[in-house]
């Protein structure tokens, strides 16, 4: 599998030609530096563009058209990668082999219509539709609380001052009222002009045809765009762990930790941290899982997650109420054990193999392939073979060295208190 990179002037086109799929995927990515005040706007834009266009002026007509195109799938999503926020519009549709002729061309044109021909009048999005979209975003903000795991992590991070990861990626209720159709349209224009744009195409495609369709339909002219350093500045090492605690009417308590990564080398950030995280709490074979769940039955789940470009690592666990002190002790002990090298060569080997498996199996899905190539652009990630070679090079000593650069910084506990009112 190879990727051809084509400079289209105002954007970059990446075509990955492969016969592994019966579908074609096109993923259009817009990115810029994350700004707290823009999060809600981007979420509205993500939703409103997929709602309707001038040609298909309501959601229903747009959906019916996508079903006629053999159920073309349309997904928009916002993600944050370090200091960048990324808005992706992705479509996936059947290869012409399985449809009537011209399905590819029609599908791409449909996608272009969604991006460049929005339902706009007098330089403003329709206020009625915007109101509907705002309701949807508001609902997502409000239902965050239904997922206690995400909610607890969100509360943990909220306590960190002014870092991209402390922002609420679900948006802000108070911002919703401030945004009208005109402002949102201006933001849309601004995004088309000033965001860095990368387009990925995966499938069995005719390169010339794709290039031609995009040239005719992808309308953006600005060539020079501001770049940002993706890496979030690291937090200072905490002298004492910052403790936050709330109680709620829940059956299971959520215990979360944030650890800082301080002074990582590029190699450690790209490779060693992955193996470290796998060992600590990456799977049901990890040190935390074994110590907290299997040996002590304190928790149903316990995981760790490295955010290498945020310079942090998260640990989160669903535990029996009242057990937080015991679990905290076990977590601290696990971190110290790795620092002291109380890990076996076998554990390191297993963790490395797991990471290598993940790198390989990513290539089985179009999204995984796109992520792999996008990482090469974003963080100058190496090709798959080199990455596997580098993971293989990691030794127990490398992990011990890295472990000493990881420090617990804060903890948040959502403690279950049973309220028997119902």
């Amino acid at each position: 599998m190879t990727c051809e990179h084509i400079n289209m002037g105002a954007y970059n086109l990446h075509i990955i030609n492969t016969n592994a799929f019966k579908t074609i995927t096109i993923d259009i990515n817009f990115r810029r530096q994350v700004v707290k005040e823009e999060i809600t706007k981007r979420l509205l834009l993500k939703n409103i563009l997929l709602d309707s266009t001038k040609r298909y002026p309501n959601e229903r007509e747009l959906i019916i058209e996508s079903e006629k195109l053999y159920d073309l799938k349309l997904i928009s999503s916002t993600t944050r990668m370090g200091n960048y926020t990324n808005l992706s519009f992705k479509t996936r549709f059947l290869n012409d082999k399985y449809t009537q002729k011209d399905n590819t061309k029609k599908s791409i044109e449909f996608m272009m219509d969604i991006l460049f021909n929005p339902n706009v009048e007098n330089n403003s999005f329709d206020e009625k539709i915007l109101k509907k979209i705002k309701e949807k975003v508001a609902k997502n903000i409000k239902t965050l609380k239904d997922n206690k795991v995400k909610y607890a992590i969100f509360k943990l991070l909220e306590n960190i001052d002014n870092k991209p990861y402390s922002y609420n990626s679900y948006g802000y209720l108070e911002d919703l009222d401030k945004i009208d159709g005109k402002q949102l349209y201006n933001y849309y224009k601004d995004m088309l002009d000033n965001d860095i744009i990368d387009i990925f195409v995966v499938g069995e495609v005719d390169k010339i045809e794709i290039k031609e369709i995009l040239k005719n339909h992808f309308k953006t002219r600005v060539y020079h765009k501001p770049k940002t350093d993706i890496l979030v500045k690291e937090l200072e090492i905490a002298k004492k762990i910052n403790k936050f605690r709330e109680t709620d009417d829940v059956n299971q308590s959520q215990l979360t930790f944030l650890a800082t990564l301080n002074g990582l080398t590029e190699f450690e950030r790209k490779y060693t941290i992955m193996v470290y995280n796998e060992l600590l709490g990456g799977s049901s074979n990890s040190i935390l899982f074994n110590n907290v769940r299997e040996e002590n039955s304190y928790a149903y789940y316990i995981n760790s997650d490295q955010k290498n470009y945020d310079n942090i690592l998260l640990i989160y666990s669903g535990i029996e109420p009242g057990n937080s002190e015991e679990v905290t002790k076990l977590i601290k002990k696990a971190l110290i054990d790795i620092e002291k090298g109380k890990i076996t060569e076998e554990q390191v080997k297993s963790a490395k193999e797991t990471i290598i498996s993940a790198i390989k199996s990513t290539l089985d899905t179009p999204s995984g392939i796109i992520n792999t190539y996008y990482a090469m652009i974003l963080v100058n990630s190496a090709d798959t073979e080199t990455r596997i070679e580098n993971i293989n090079k990691i030794t127990k000593e490398d992990i011990i060295k890295l472990a000493n650069k990881i420090h617990l910084h804060s903890t948040y506990l959502l403690e279950g208190v049973k309220n028997e009112s119902n």
Binding site: K68, E135, K145, V250, E320, S357, N422
Partner: protein, 422 residues
């Protein structure tokens, strides 16, 4: 080895029944990097009453799921998750109403790992101590589900709709059930339901079908099993009526979750079950999904922000068709649903469009070995065979048959469940 060729999709699945009764399905895919292998017993949460050595056994609820946890316990063998991790593979298991499935995924050592999967599932080690310690973990899992409003909603949909049908009970059981489980009960269930003749293996990934089948055969030949016995499951009679017409449950959530459920007796229809399911999916899709007029009107009236989630649960005797959403205005929404069901008008154009969607979904499934594997499991569990001509079946669906099904559904046989914010 028999080749099952799937018409219009250009895919082949291989099948063989081994001497000990084990069914083996192989789906080789040369472009895949990963492998996904599952080993399934036709034993799920609904099999609570069965005959064993001429006695009728009644087991505590949740025992299939408990057994799933304990099958991982080994005496003379390395811990499964450690074994699989050595080659970077991940192992897991899950329990549904009708089956328990053990699996691993990983790009390396497919034969060795497949044989290990057979070995560990076919030779677990139960002890009083390891059973006791599992009770704490499962209790945590139950608490985690209790904290998820949507899980609570689904539990009540079934328990308020079904009288005797075991689909009414939760898969995981409640804390009291779990505490009454002991070694003897587990052994009884294991001996009855984990015989090779009640199980099947599905291998999907990048491998040579002849070579792996040879290895599986040799592995099974080297083991001794009891004589194959017919398993007698106690048949339950299920009334057509629902149990409770309405229930409002107060929970810790921001936005209410609501479900409108229709109970349909499968024997009302003189039609193949699979076809019936497809028709139901089409009928309720056309009436309520994001391409429906209903959706547009409900959103315009600001009753809902997201489209209805349509869930069709096949409970052997009946179907439960649930229309689910999140809204505080559920009364108005239910009224709208009721009105819609009184005045059903489905056009040929609607049907033809949905056929395109269904065909597309079938082809999309073959993008991913994991989905293919799951599709094979579902086919065996629900239909006991793999349909070779699914595309032709879809193409032949017609409006007369559809309308005849609509006319036979008793739409008044329904109930509602609401999870309301405290």
């Amino acid at each position: 080895m028999k080749a099952i060729n799937l018409a219009h999709i250009n895919e082949t699945i291989y099948y063989e029944k081994l001497d000990n009764g084990l069914d083996v399905y192989l789906y080789p895919k040369k472009t895949a990097y990963n492998n996904y292998v599952t080993f399934t017993t036709k034993f799920g949460s609904i099999y609570n009453e069965f005959s064993y050595q001429d006695k009728t056994i009644k087991t505590p609820l949740g025992i299939a799921h408990f057994l799933e946890h304990k099958v991982f316990a080994q005496k003379n063998r390395e811990d499964p998750s450690q074994f699989f991790a050595k080659s970077g593979a991940l192992s897991n298991a899950y329990t549904t109403f009708k089956n328990t499935t053990y699996l691993f995924s990983g790009p390396k050592n497919i034969i060795e790992n497949t044989l290990y999967l057979l070995d560990f599932v076919q030779d677990p080690y139960f002890s009083d101590e390891n059973i006791e310690s599992e009770k704490g973990i499962i209790t945590q899992e139950i608490h985690m589900c209790d904290d998820r409003p949507t899980d609570v909603l689904y539990e009540h949909i079934r328990s308020n709709t079904l009288h005797n049908n075991h689909f009414k009970d939760s898969i995981i059981g409640d804390v009291e059930d779990i505490n009454s489980i002991n070694k003897k009960l587990l052994e009884t269930c294991y001996t009855t339901f984990y015989h090779p003749s009640n199980m099947f293996l599905v291998v999907a990934g990048n491998f040579d079908e002849n070579q792996i089948l040879e290895a599986i055969k040799n592995n099974q030949k080297s083991k001794k099993f009891a004589k194959e016995k017919k398993i007698e499951i106690k048949k339950v009679k299920e009334k057509n009526s629902v149990v409770k017409k309405e229930q409002i449950i107060k929970l810790n959530t921001n936005i209410s979750k609501c479900a409108y459920n229709i109970k349909v007796n499968i024997n009302t229809f003189d039609i193949d079950k699979r076809k019936l399911n497809i028709y139901m999916y089409i009928i309720f899709g056309i009436l309520f999904d994001d391409s429906s007029l209903f959706d547009q009107e409900a959103k315009d009236k600001q009753l809902i922000t997201n489209s209805m989630y349509i869930n069709i649960l096949n409970c052997d005797t009946h179907l439960i068709i649930s229309l689910i959403n999140e809204t505080n205005k559920y009364k108005e929404l239910f009224q709208m649903i009721e009105n819609k069901l009184k005045n059903i008008n489905i056009t040929l154009e609607d049907l033809e469009r949905k056929k395109k969607v269904l065909i597309s979904n079938e082809i999309f499934s073959f993008e991913n070995i994991e989905i293919v594997n799951e599709m094979i499991i579902d086919s065996i569990i629900f239909d006991n065979h793999i349909e070779q001509n699914i595309i032709d079946i879809i193409k032949k669906l017609n409006i007369e048959e559809l309308n005849s099904i609509v006319s036979k559904i008793d739409f008044d046989n329904k109930n509602t469940v609401i999870i309301e914010a405290k």
